[in-house]
Symmetry: C2
Subunit: 385 residues, 2 copies
Amino acid sequence: MSLTFTIRETSGAARRATMQLPHGTVETPIFMPVGTAATVKAVPQNVLEDVHTQILLGNTYHLYLRPGHERIRRLGGLHKFMSWPHPILTDSGGFQVYSLNKLRKVTEDGVRFRSHLDGSEHFFSPEHSMEVQIALGADIAMVFDECTEWPATRERARESLDLTLRWARRSRDYFLAHAQEVPWYAELAGQTPSLFGIVQGGMYDDLRRESAERLVELDLPGYAIGGLSVGEPREHTRAVLAATLPLLPADKPRYVMGVGYPEEIVEYAAMGVDMMDCVLPTRAARHGLLFTREGRMNIKNQRYAEDQNPPDPACQCMVCQRYTRAYLRHLAMAQEPLGGALNSIHNLYAYLDTMQSVRDAISLGTLPELLASVRERAIARNHDA
Amino acid sequence: MSLTFTIRETSGAARRATMQLPHGTVETPIFMPVGTAATVKAVPQNVLEDVHTQILLGNTYHLYLRPGHERIRRLGGLHKFMSWPHPILTDSGGFQVYSLNKLRKVTEDGVRFRSHLDGSEHFFSPEHSMEVQIALGADIAMVFDECTEWPATRERARESLDLTLRWARRSRDYFLAHAQEVPWYAELAGQTPSLFGIVQGGMYDDLRRESAERLVELDLPGYAIGGLSVGEPREHTRAVLAATLPLLPADKPRYVMGVGYPEEIVEYAAMGVDMMDCVLPTRAARHGLLFTREGRMNIKNQRYAEDQNPPDPACQCMVCQRYTRAYLRHLAMAQEPLGGALNSIHNLYAYLDTMQSVRDAISLGTLPELLASVRERAIARNHDA
């Protein structure tokens, strides 16, 4: 598995590192924009580059259903298909099967589910998830897990983590046997993708510990913490991270899936998280919610109707350099497609710029001050949203 | 009225000219992308610049309803509002009142109509249309006309052209008295917008002649031919243009409203038209229709599912430089917003590049060859669309 993770500097539990992957080097801590259907909704790839996107997340479930992983394989893999020559991580499909399918049926072998597009029946096993991810050709693939729902009883969480561990082993075995089948194997001089494990265990510290310890025995190149952002209170999220992060190997990347708000991604990076992803910056943008240094801004608010300031006067993004709040409000009220696109560009820039600030603060030893100021802003944020 | 039209070269009836306007110089013949609601749908302003947009068309009817011309005036005019520092032309609202309101009521004074947004009642007179266009602050405004429907009897077309001429006089009188009220009057050293007249007359050559001759008496800085692209056969459009264009002053810009397909804009430019506008390149794009050198391409067609060519291999636009037909088809099938945006960018580039070719051909004396090759392509086009 072609992944080299090199820690350059630390500040408390936080680390600044580089992660070399077949399609390029990623500086961590990093936020990964979500490109569900081979596109970060409404944002062209050159603009993703402009806002300094280093690595994208692709959704295996969506790409499997449309346009289909075999088609993407025939077209040279996801990088070529979507013209994104930089690193890509794919999830396993487990989370979407969980969140988009109320009638899914889980057995030891895998999950039977119905397409949210046309109701057709499908089956994902750990082996099939690996096959799909290898066809897509991500730089980093994820083991097929069961995302434990919240709330879950202790018994349910234990059963679920046991299943996830058995699936992790099956995922790894299939992945190791087939990793060379990625579409770019020959082109990139025999480099191969890497497989990350996923810690589950609900909101139970001891189950998280057990999940982490048994998962680490698989000796994978990176580890994720899953089963968060499923509706639980923020304190639970933080507690699970605090309990779990120290159990993951310090010399390997740690990825928290599906988080978070701007203040959270800074806080989690300070706790030692290296990678995060979330649809929030783009999904919120399409609903007119902007993340600014002055707080969250619902751009549809009447108060912005004649406001000639940029969304965030201190922001250097192309949107804040050219457009006013009044104009973005007009686009949102008129449901013009340009509105969601510009809001998405600003929010992605804000997230990626925040992570650049985190990396700089780690180098400068000023992470505590950054964290304090981000928390203060989060508290002082206006109540638009 | 601050407009200087300078003919540089001619080729038959076609002319290559420059048109100096308060917000910049436009090279003609030119195609004007349509920015209905202060946005060319789905395309950011920097990309409009990238595809060499020289002048945008704004829709008075839409902007009057939302966000409102008084608001745009308070925000410094349409150029500032939408961050488009280059020339803008606004229509009079007459065409939208005609096309979006089945229950409109026309009197000598003006038109009573209902908003397509909320059903509220509104009234446009020639004076009010001028007031709105001056508040928006376009470089070129259009007289308030009645767009004669098709088909129309001779009596109906005559009545309508008479009304349009009376309204043209009222438009001019109000415009001349208030042109200095544009938001940028002081900032641009006392320059003022220009008002163009509109020839009507249905599909009757003699009525078109009468309309043109009486309109020219108003001595306006430019003249448009309206009442076309209202459902009439293509031959009628061409016949009306052939009958009318020679009657318009040779030393002033001639604008044909609401046209056309790529082969038409070349043909009309060859007939002596200087300016054209149409929603076609962007509206068609949102439905997956691409204009290429190989013909019209319905990108949703199954045949493109694994086609790794760019939409138009000979096109230099940013879309053709980066994306494949297979990817654009996927975006269209998945109804991803990026699909409509990328298709729009390609089509606008294709239209504006076509007009650059026309200007070059006028200079080089090769316009007949260009016209022949465009016609041939139009005939040979595939039948996707």
